[in-house]
Amino acid sequence: MTIAGRDNLPSAVAALAQPRQDAAAPAAPAGDRGRRWRRRLAYVILIGYALLMFVPFAWTVVTSFKTLPDSTQLTFIPQPFTADAWGFVFTNLRPAVPIMFANSLLIAGIVTITNLTFGSLAGYAFARLRFPGREVLFLVVLATLMIPDQLRLPPMYVLFSGLGFTKGILAYLPVILIAAISASSIFLLRQYFLTIPKDLEEAARIDGAGFFTTFTRVMLPLATPALSAVAILQFQGTWNSFFWPVVFLSADPNHWTLPLGLTEFTLGPYAKNWPPLMATVVIATIPILILYMFFQRYFVEGVAASGVKG
């Protein structure tokens, strides 16, 4: 749950104030000539920086097409070029990549849905419903981010193995339960709900809608950007998570998720089998990339679009 670890990124969008805007750029004053040069320079720097972001990934892809001896060399062209590592990954792994992929998908999918559901319900409650102890309870929610996983490890394992959740299909349960709702999802959605004008709710209330109906018919549809944010971050965080899966899922290879599969590529105590390791990293990264490119559109446009309402 740490940003540094980035395996369960907390989100903290504060799409505050008036939720109606066009995604406009702040106007810059005149001074055309200087502006053009500045823009050009800015573009160059930006493109340079953006390409820099891709260098490690390019390296990963290139290495996956090398042979093992060649992979330790600092060249960007494989010599020889071979897809052996890819073949190896798809035929020789225990368990097979599709199985690990499915496990990762299952867990990440469920966790994302529970975060969206519980997160929005609780976020709404903390933002708009009045109940005794609300502020204290919210602090308690925040406090759950402050205890490191490493310390929770022994008692968590004792708890779940006592319940028998370490064998067979039940082994998925601890991983899912631990990640099912993150304080960051609640935090994010609460902040977002705080910015929605109260009159919308009041109107619904006057029309006789109960709390739940108000929530589902009025608040949720307005919260698409925040929900998208939670979806991206929770899915990606869970997809890449290693800590709890290795504790509860490593016993049975058929339960392994993709990050666990990455551990298959050590060659003795000091060496790694780089080419197939890189191939697996690519496989693990692509779905997130697709997900992100799909959702990021909603994320920003949604904020702008919501201004149309009311």
């Binding site: 093992l68 001896p69 330790t72 020789n92 225990r94 490890l153 022994p154 394992y157 004792v158 193995s161 006592g162 370490t166 290693f242 290795v246 504790v247 490593s250 016993a251 049975d252 290879p253 666990l260 551990t263 298959e264 050590t266 060659l267 003795g268 105590p269 000091y270 060496a271 089998n273």
Partner: protein, 421 residues
């Protein structure tokens, strides 16, 4: 790799076929009249057990599978379930100990064996050994001793072991040195040789330095392991000798060469000699197959006798295990001559018994077992001592001061703290 596996399977089948007629542990179930201790016959045991392993590579997993396959032929009534513990093995296992559900039989590394024995995680094996009449003498004594608790009980049997040997590039070094003085001469002749970056890749820590310390007549602890012995003239001289290798440019660290470890340095051709264990063989075969290199025994130093350091691991049985009989049946097989032959046949590991055939290429390593001293697991809190030594030694090299007094001071402090706590 596949050839190695086929080889292992072949050995398995041959050894099993040859012993098909005998059942190990031949005393009768009822015990003989006259009041002697009831005997243990593993052939009579049936049931299940889980085995916990940590895979250094997929090949290791296959080797364990082969060993267990051979086991099930000899002991068809005991079913062993193979479990891989991924990630940080030690952390996972301790977590499971705390929940009272570790695998029945599992790896125990020398490094933390004493800690686990002290915590009471391991079940003593003496009864089984006695009742079955299982001979422990073929095990290399310094391997076995590591898994003996301070109460004198045996808590694990070594399943394999590695010693540190000299690995040299046979194209660059025609005659490997046999004494430390010759080593220095050979290294000096290689200084400035085109193609290599340095004569030797050396470890600036006790991981390998301990072997040199012993070789040159020094020691870390007194013979009974109860007090430090590094602050003595002999140890200081030995340590300074090792430090001087760095000082005179005869040896450099892998970091300075930009290599992940010294094995990589040898493979890449950055150095002509280094000191590693049996794991180097598989690495060189897969990653740098074109390099011509050989193992040679650790050169003899001023101490006058051959010495090196060893790393070993054992199988242990959980104290909470409900399947101790079954776990022991597996354990005594896997660390017995048959089982160990299958396990080590493929070159994944090196035998820890003197009566198991030595796999190809590992002769030097096994030779070293006879005269090696433990490289880990001989004192509690050794990890802290290693860290203190390594930090101080590394500082001296980085700052180019090459003075061992600071190293000795830091190490003494750490040793005393570890022995006290």
């Amino acid at each position: 790799m596949r050839r190695a596996l086929a080889f292992a399977m072949a050995i398995a089948l041959i050894t099993v076929a040859c012993s098909a007629g005998n059942s190990p542990g031949t005393t009768g179930a009822g015990g003989s009249p006259g009041g002697s201790v009831a005997a243990f016959d593993p052939a009579a045991i049936s049931g299940n057990a889980t085995l916990g392993e940590w895979d250094s590579s997929p090949a290791e997993h296959s080797a364990v599978s082969s060993a267990l396959a051979a086991f099930s032929v000899t002991y068809p009534n005991v079913k062993v379930d193979q479990t891989t513990i991924s990630g940080d093995y030690r952390a996972q296992m301790i977590t499971r100990f705390g929940a009272h559900n570790p695998p029945d039989i599992f790896y125990v590394n020398a490094e933390y064996a004493q800690d686990w024995i002290d915590q009471g995680f391991l079940a003593p094996l003496d009864d089984y050994i006695a009742k079955q009449g299982f001979a422990t003498s073929p095990f290399f004594k310094n391997y076995l001793d590591i898994f003996t608790g301070s109460d004198g009980h045996i808590y694990g049997l070594p399943k394999d072991g590695n010693t540190i040997a000299m690995a040299y590039n046979s194209d660059l070094v025609s005659t490997p040195p046999t004494t430390m003085d010759q080593l220095v001469q050979t290294a000096q002749s290689l200084v400035g040789k085109p193609g290599i970056k340095a004569p030797m890749c050396l470890n600036a820590a006790l991981d390998r330095g301990l072997a040199f310390l012993y070789a040159q007549g020094g020691s870390l602890l007194t013979a009974d392991n109860k007090a430090e012995a590094i602050d003595t003239p002999a140890s200081k001289a030995a340590l300074q000798w090792y430090m001087d290798l760095f000082k005179n440019g005869l040896g450099v660290t892998n970091k300075a060469l930009g290599d992940g470890w010294c094995g990589e340095a040898l493979g890449k051709g950055d150095v002509a000699m280094t000191f590693e264990g049996g794991w180097l063989l598989g690495f060189m075969q897969t990653t740098y197959p074109k390099v011509n290199w050989k193992f040679a025994e650790m050169p003899t130093g001023s101490s006058g006798s051959k010495v090196t350091i060893s790393y070993t691991a054992a199988y242990g049985i959980g104290v909470d295990s409900a399947n101790k009989d079954q776990a022991w049946t597996a354990l005594q097989y896997l660390t017995g001559t048959q089982g160990m032959a299958v396990w080590t046949g493929g070159g994944i590991a090196v035998p820890s018994r003197s009566d198991v055939p030595v796999p190809d290429g590992f002769d030097i390593i096994v030779k070293g077992a006879a005269y090696s001293k433990p490289g880990s697991g001989f004192m509690k809190g050794y990890n802290d001592v290693q860290t203190a030594f390594a930090n101080a030694f590394d500082q001296e090299i980085t700052n180019k001061t090459y003075n061992v007094d600071n190293v000795i001071a830091a190490t003494v402090a750490a040793i005393n703290k570890a022995l006290a706590g």
